[in-house]
Symmetry: D2
Subunit: 333 residues, 4 copies
């Protein structure tokens, strides 16, 4: 970490600051120029409160040289992490095709969708049991029953399943779930992350709508710092001024994350765009820029034919998307 | 709610849609023009999934006419809600002056700051015991001990206290806390909101960094829908492209919220700006545009004189801010 | 256009409003329900000031049913527009590979880069002569000389050229330029757009950093409304809170634009990301989601070997990108 | 300027970089630590292209120590600039009350509004003659006639006038205009700024919707670098995800600008919020946080009584706002 001091700082002030920094077990390297004094802080600077340091009257600015995440950092772990879940691998060249309905509705629905997407090449089944909803009056998911039905679908098809946890008190229900999802709204629910870090379950961590790439990595670090290194990151759109899509899918995050971390990165074009007809092109783009997987909403319920235009694809549409993604992955080999 | 259908929609499709809507206990009023057909949905539309409706192939667009929040809505509750906490009133003309340190550090610190801010006119003491931190390696607060020390300060000064909850499992510790704060990162932790709705504690609900005003009201609705109507809203800055301040304080949210809801609205200029020297002007602006209170970080620790420039004010600076806020409130009467 | 009136609006007010609307040559279709009155405005609503209408006390909300752009609208022009420039076609299946240096520096440089990128498959040469720079003290381009050198490169290679105009007073200099670029900062310089609309030159219109997709189309409409329909749209990143990339490349804009307009859409990953090593994956993603072209910075100046890491690619790197883009385009056929 | 080099940089590379920097007339101060090498660049670093430097493979990061604006910088000009226009002073304790209609419509209208707002304490008359409109089909202002009518109103009332220029080719028309406004969409129309810098007219420079505070100051620098130091800055809202207001008024920009520059700062709450009923609270807030003036839309046209709810205030409403602003300014003395 580098701290640049203001011009008019006295020697006494500089000493007082360096003493304070040394008390945090840091080595301080002082470089005094004509125009400015630069302090180089060496040691474990992840404990230094940058905001506090920056706010000191004598400090002009502060800059990290090393990243505040350690376990998630590719510098200290150059090889790609491959996460295994229910016999399926993700990352390091293994591509995950995750598909399934937004919400689990019934045994018939989930098993039927599972079979359809499996035939089209999906390797992991997604489905919401606990649903975070903006309105307290909206359907909140089948909850315990939803998880039970997902496990039925897993038994019927052999596909590993991924579903979202909203509250650590329900962790017991996830015993046979293969991948636990942390939703965008809980990306900085630090207590939840920490508890999940104490399990050895693969965790699919979605980026928050207003969270930076660095914050996503810091949230992964929360999980990893407790011992669980099976973390899969998920880009699912950020909130911007543009209203033509529900969120703005930040695909540049894929190569940026691949530079900074060894963890696998998947992309969810369904939630990002909110529109079924944008899912295919954005899934293709995700594959083209190197994502380790895609996560797509698929439903298959003739009784709700009305929903045909939703952000969910039909199994047939998913099949076409899966084909195209495969072709693109071959093209970029 | 209004749904505008596309031009080429057939009568059969229209019937299929209206049947589906009627099955949700809605009256559907059809207005068929030459250029378009408009459906007016009458009844409890708060259960209608707008995204789903909008996504239907036959639907051009959907528009809410009534807001999706009921209990928080000023239309159904025209009078200002006045929240009472530890003998102090907030809202409806009662202005809350909330002050205290970012983190509780020691008994001496918290009692000393409490006394100082009380002398300068603070009516409620704030202080962090559980601290949500981006990094797992940063200081996470004194936790249980922090709450204990806050209660000591309450005993010593008689001031009601407000402090943040991060996890519903710690609710018991908040028994004697006067106002429970829900932080920006937990604004959409719906399970936490729901549980707090089952208590009768005043809840200070901070706006999330990427959350709209409507989403803030929907989160208040989560609390209120469980029976707890003692909700105080807090504007604390949103995330934008501007980097000169930590966040962008959205003061227009104050009059907008006052139009839409009867709940009191306080402003936290310390977290929004992240810079002590911006706190005074923004506290003044908050008072001028009608906020029902301000929440300011104040510390008083000679041992950490280094921190003098942080986002915290000294008690002397807070005293000046409090004076100016009082003058402005008189000016706008 | 739909205007929803407030509940308590009187018949007299409604009449006064409809009279005002009719005076604008609109047919007004009134649908009076129990809960609300809906006005359907039929005719040329592109002249109605929505903000004004929305702001009327009696109006609850206003919604466009038809888009405010006509000439750029795919509804009225279902077939893809193919823009021709210097013998090269863009759009409707024709893919443009645009490459060249950020700034024209010398005859040797521009001709050398032109030859290199041409060999690697570039079909159009880009190069900045007039450079919009945030600082008045930065290099502002070679200006007239820059255009002259570009024309030399055109002569030497036969490639059509694209370069940016900043000021309509310099239009004469662009006589032999094949495509005139309007930069992001000038996307809403309406006088400039209008003047360019009076020429018959192909215009490459870049999306502004804070402009919506609809605003981009409205700016295209400015050009087209004067008679020039040779408009190529360019997505080059929008401004968001994320700081890991210079801007956030909004690739969803590509399929969204293809739905709404018949104009070709190219993507500039160099300016969007600001980092050379992100250009290859984002160019691949742009091709995968259906872009009609990519625009990439390439330089080839051994004297400035220092710049090797900039947002510009070397000719060798560009060659690899061009190869991958071709393979992806074959994969998505 | 500070450049931090990567760990593995060789001495040869360092020398090559420092030679390049020295060739730009900079002194380079090298501080070589165990963990990193820091280069301090001393001299006129405003010409150094930070993006380029940052992009070099050997460079970890780059940080400005001094700001890139010189003439607008308070460090080199500690005293407040007071701009004089038509006998009215702005800045340094002088507060400007700018009011008038969005568009000039007729002689009767503009003179009538001018008289009304003058009676209520407005000191400067605003009115749009050239109107930047998103749609080519919207009313674009009375143009030359609009300026002529404004000059009539000036003659009738003695008030100085401010109106927007969109195109440098119309500069002659502004000869008797007291303050020339540069709109948000033209904030980075650098050619326009430069030409205005060659005049000695006071320039009211509005912040662009997606522009940072630093970019606003750089645009002021464009004007000032040509010799015209009569620049008034105007905060008028930035574009964010929040849709409840047209833009998000960034009032923190007022104290931030006052720290960084000596130029006066006014606030336009009418355009920022887009809603008349938010103008009064936000004007009050602007005054409370230290703005040097406010700019408010007022109309007075009984024939268009329909517009009563628009972002424009009636003269009576403006009078109340002006009163409250005066009281607040007294309160914060």
């Amino acid at each position: 970490m580098i701290a640049i001091l203001k011009r008019n700082v006295t020697d006494e002030q500089t000493k007082s600051l360096t003493d304070w920094l040394k008390a945090m077990d840091l080595d301080v390297h002082i470089s005094k120029g004509q125009e400015m004094t630069v302090l180089g802080l060496i040691g474990d600077t992840s404990r230094v409160d940058m905001d506090l340091l920056r706010s000191l009257d004598m400090v002009e600015s502060v800059k990290r040289v090393s990243e505040p995440y350690k376990q998630a950092n590719r510098k200290f772990h150059p090889q790609d992490t491959i996460v295994e879940a229910g016999g399926i691998r993700i990352g390091g060249g293994y591509f995950a095709m995750i598909a399934g309905p937004c919400s689990v509705e019934s045994e018939e629905q989930i098993i039927s969708v599972a079979r359809s997407v499996q035939e089209s090449g999906a390797t992991i089944l997604r489905g919401g049991a606990f649903k975070p909803r903006t309105s307290p009056y909206s359907f909140q998911g089948l909850r315990d029953d939803g998880i039970r039905l997902l496990l039925e679908a897993k038994k019927a098809t052999g596909m590993p399943i991924v579903t979202e946890i909203m509250n650590i008190s329900t962790l017991d229900l996830f015993e046979d779930v293969d991948i636990i999802q942390v939703g965008a709204r809980n990306m900085q629910n630090f207590d939840l992350l920490r508890e999940l870090g104490k399990t050895c379950k693969p965790i699919l961590l979605k980026r928050g709508l207003a969270n930076t790439i660095e914050e996503l990595l810091m949230s992964a670090e929360y999980i990893m710092s407790e011992g669980n290194t099976n973390v899969i990151l998920c880009e699912r759109g950020i909130r911007t001024f543009e209203q033509a899509t529900r969120n703005t899918l930040d695909l540049s995050a894929v190569p940026v994350l691949h530079e900074r971390t060894h963890l696998p990165v998947v992309v969810d074009p369904s939630h990002a765009t909110g529109q079924a007809r944008l899912v295919a092109p954005m899934a293709a783009a995700a594959a083209a820029c190197g994502a380790d997987g895609i996560m797509i909403e698929v439903h298959n319920d003739p009784a709700h034919a009305l929903c045909d235009g939703a952000q969910s694809l039909t199994p047939e549409e998913f099949s076409a998307v899966a084909d195209q993604v495969r072709k693109i992955r071959e093209a970029i080999q």
